[in-house]
Amino acid sequence: MFFTIGDYIAGALIGIVTALAVRVAVSPGMDMVIAILLGLGIGMLVHLLVGLLLSPLLGMFETMMPAALTGMYGGMLFGMRDSIAAGSATLRAAATVGALFGLIVVMAMKMYDRVLRGTVIDTGE
């Protein structure tokens, strides 16, 4: 239970930090390609820093895999949104969407893990 709750909190935290950092760096009117690349870079940095800080508590793999998806893909999406001011006008709204994105990624990863977990090759020896 500790790890399950921790995974979701970590996902939300990485989503929030990424969304806020992208909001600070990308302003409306910025070239969208530059904004997406900037979002990717910010997401990479954020997921490495926050992920490494949380890994001792939650485990390297279970933290870093969703963190990478949330940070890097989320960073690109947030960058795209913020370059054209397409919603989440306030910092609070941007943080909420970031948290939601992180939570959904963690949930998707847990579902995927359930599907994939188990034997894939067994010769019966």
């Binding site: 790890f3 485990g59 390297m60 793999f61 279970e62 994939l116 188990g118 894939v120 067994d122 020896e125």
Partner: protein, 211 residues
């Protein structure tokens, strides 16, 4: 001896045990289940700080190697808690000093993400295993899931500067080194795997193929 790799893991030894709290609880059962299959004289590759000794079944005769003397210094403190024999040696898996056919089992934990020449290392392990011997591996590999695999490729040049390469095809490398797969199990997503393979007793050795 690959001094660059040695330095990297000497540096990593300072923070290595920080991750044991969560790793032991989340991955420990999977390691214990895999190591239950250990039989006979055993080589544990990349012992690290000895954190995985507690998952070994009792009563074994284990030779544990690592390229990093600083890792081994920490591992030495943990050998006393093991109910069996653990001999620690500093050695590069790509240049093993053991005679051919010395071991019944080889065990690895998150090792072949970090060996710069994985197939060379795996061929060395194939050489030192007795015919019919087994290799038991708990390894992380590149994900076959599109978006995850791409991220792992993207991150590897950065992560590998202070840690492992996270986009290795270790299951494929095991086969390339001459082993026959016996069992592969996904432990977390398709990224963390328990791999069991055997050295067939045919006498064919890929390391001697060019000869």
């Amino acid at each position: 001896m690959d001094t660059r790799t040695q330095r990297k893991w000497d540096d990593a030894s300072r923070t290595f045990d920080l991750f044991s709290f969560a790793e032991d609880r989340r991955l420990g059962p999977g390691k214990r289940k895999l190591f239950e299959k250990i039989q006979g004289r055993t080589l544990l590759v990349a012992a690290g700080t000895g954190n995985d000794f507690k998952f070994l079944p009792p009563g074994l005769e284990v030779t544990a190697i690592d390229i990093s003397p600083k890792m081994l210094a920490k591992a030495a403190r943990k050998t006393a808690a093991y109910d069996g024999t653990i001999e620690l040696l500093q050695m590069d898996v790509c240049e093993l000093a053991f005679p051919s056919a010395s071991f019944d089992t080889v065990a690895t934990v998150c090792t072949f993400c970090s060996v710069p020449r994985p197939i060379v290392g795996l061929r060395e392990l194939h050489r030192v295993l007795k015919p019919g011997g087994q290799i038991l591996m708990f390894e992380h590999v590149r994900s076959a899931i599109g978006p995850l695999g791409i991220l792992m490729d993207f991150m590897t040049p950065i992560v590998s500067r202070f840690g492992p390469e996270i986009n290795r095809d270790t299951v494929g490398n095991v086969q390339k080194a001459g082993f026959r797969l016996r069992r592969v199990e996904n432990v977390y997503l398709d990224v963390l795997k328990a791999i069991e393979a055997v050295k067939d007793g045919s006498g064919w050795d890929p390391a001697n193929r060019a000869a």
